[in-house]
Symmetry: C2
Subunit: 355 residues, 2 copies
């Protein structure tokens, strides 16, 4: 389609500067600057301030944040690194972060950086070239080169969703081990004893801590090691879930339940069951983790562990703001408590029942 528009390419009018405002108000630029900055507003006489404000209003003055950044060294810009913007887990986190930061006058640059740490550092350099005031990392592995980099460069940073194994930065995350305990307690209460775990990648905290949480919960219930089966997925994806669950099911025909490290893996478990003509929950109960959108509508509706991703984002923003305000040492780790959402993918085992 070929079209033309009269407006297209129209030249932008040169915007009003502080100098224009000052001239219009008959004062010096610095006075205008002081007036328009809430912090220094009180330094200027009421009537003068009023004149400046009126002039600014009349000329539709908009401060140039780029110039202000150059002068002050601060940009009021926060970078956010996510491994995959299309992963539904990160949307609400991003929503929480951006909204909270915006309310405090900060803009957010979201970088979809994948999971290659060298590339991540390259991209961070780009953000630092823009003088971002801080970074929120939703990407970290348990020992993360990006964190090293931020520390070395003195760039304020906050971790969200994932933690390092040795905490070096302020972090907000869900209680991953606690979430698995909820899942295992639930299954044990339903009579399950031979339980498998489709673990997430072990180089990220969620995968690692959930596996450990699973193992601890299972031990707490005194289930013999022989009743338990754990297999690790190399990524949080449906295909990996299917592959790993398949391996688990083929090796251990006696399992009655599988706990997946997240919902995407759990859906992969569904796929594996389907491929083997096994029914859920009749043959195998499945529990996921995250309560991502729509898992209440899949067949069968998924029993899962809900964590408040949006709240996680809001909390991360709050921590970042504290960090920037200089009193960032108060609260270094916030742990959100997950809750169990029981739906139809887990069922009560009849006494003595086995496959």
């Amino acid at each position: 389609m070929q079209l033309r528009f009269k407006h297209a390419g129209r030249k932008a009018a040169k915007p009003t500067t502080l100098k224009d405002v000052a001239a219009a108000a008959g004062v010096h630029v610095s006075t205008a600057s002081r007036t328009l900055n809430p912090i220094t507003r009180h330094l200027v006489a009421g009537n003068v301030a009023l004149r400046v404000e009126r002039a600014a209003q009349k000329l539709d003055y908009r401060p140039d944040l780029v110039a202000a950044s150059l002068r002050t060294g601060r940009s009021r810009l926060i970078g956010v690194l996510v491994p995959d913007i299309a992963d539904p887990v990160f949307s609400p986190i991003l929503g929480g972060i951006t909204e909270s930061l915006l309310a405090a006058g900060y803009s957010t640059v979201i970088a979809d950086v994948g999971s290659n740490q060298d590339r991540q550092i390259e991209l961070i350099e780009g953000l630092m070239a823009r003088r971002v005031d801080g970074l929120v990392l939703a990407t970290v592995s348990r020992k993360d080169a990006v964190v090293d980099h931020c520390l070395r460069r003195g760039l304020p940073a906050v971790l969200v969703n994932r933690t390092e194994s040795q905490p070096r930065l302020a972090t907000v995350a869900s209680d991953d081990a606690g979430g698995m305990k909820l899942a295992v307690d639930h299954l044990v209460a339903l009579g399950h004893r031979r339980i498998g775990h489709v673990a997430g990648p072990q180089h990220v905290s969620t995968g690692f801590l959930r596996r450990r949480g699973f193992e601890a919960a299972v031990r707490k219930h005194g289930l013999p090691a022989a009743d338990i089966a754990v297999e690790v997925a190399s990524a949080y994806s449906r295909v990996e879930g299917e592959r790993v669950a398949g391996a688990l099911l083929d090796a251990r025909g006696d399992l009655t339940a599988i706990v997946a490290a997240n919902d995407l893996l759990a859906l992969g478990v569904y796929d594996a069951l389907h491929a083997r003509k096994l029914r859920c929950p009749a043959d195998i109960s499945v529990v996921g983790h995250n309560d991502m959108p729509l898992v209440d509508m899949v067949a069968p509706p998924l029993t899962t562990v809900r964590i408040s991703h949006r709240e996680m984002g809001e909390e991360a923003a709050r921590m970042m703001l504290e960090e920037l305000a200089g009193h960032g040492h108060r609260e270094r780790a916030v742990t959100l408590t997950p809750i169990l959402i029981v739906r139809s993918s887990s069922r009560k085992l009849n006494p003595g029942e086995a496959r």
Copy 2:
């Protein structure tokens, strides 16, 4: 939890400036600048350039984009407005945009702006204060004040996913009417004649054009107006889908199929069917639109129209880059062709069958 870290609050080292590089290379800043800018690189003698580059390398020099922006008036920053970052439709669009722009050296500021146009304009002003070079709008209504604003301010802008009724800006969107034709053709081929439509909000192009596309398709098949029922939802949400589908079903007990303007609405249709103890597809066939993640896993797997959101984002980025390069008048509207994905929510009607 209270913790402290030795690294926390560590002072950032003052970064190397162009001046440092110039000094180290024994040349003037302007020469260093010329060397490091690919466009002006050829103006400087080979051996000198080499010296500068080595110095830059050695000092780990990173150009200050803020200073460059102030000087040039360009920021290599693009703003992207989405109505709701948590809506899974926008994730792949954002992924496509950010990746393509990044490859061209542009960063992306994503603004989650809701649907209040006054607020949107306020937020755009914030982006303009950061001197964004352009805006990608995934938010527009059929007559959009934000577009007025961009035009007036001379800010390059590209529309994605939604179009205005009178095209004033470069746009990339799916063939919405065509998508509905696919859906209706499919149902008619299966023997359906009494078909309902849960339409989306009519102030956005997707809702409007899909409804019109539905009506045109139905007319083309010569279905009498009495066989058709259209009801408009006030938002693309599951609850609205349920409400509107409920109204449709209660008023028209003879319908055998419903086409929803998007998948979220289609899932609402499922909810409404469920509440009325109607089965899909046994009693009512349902077709959605968008093929959003997981609709292949709901019960029953949803027949829907797939559009390539990621490609849409990539295309929008390409158009923006063209716009910025000055030859933005070549191709003003790109229409992506959707395809039908048949799953299990639509079934063939037996001859003469009715409810």
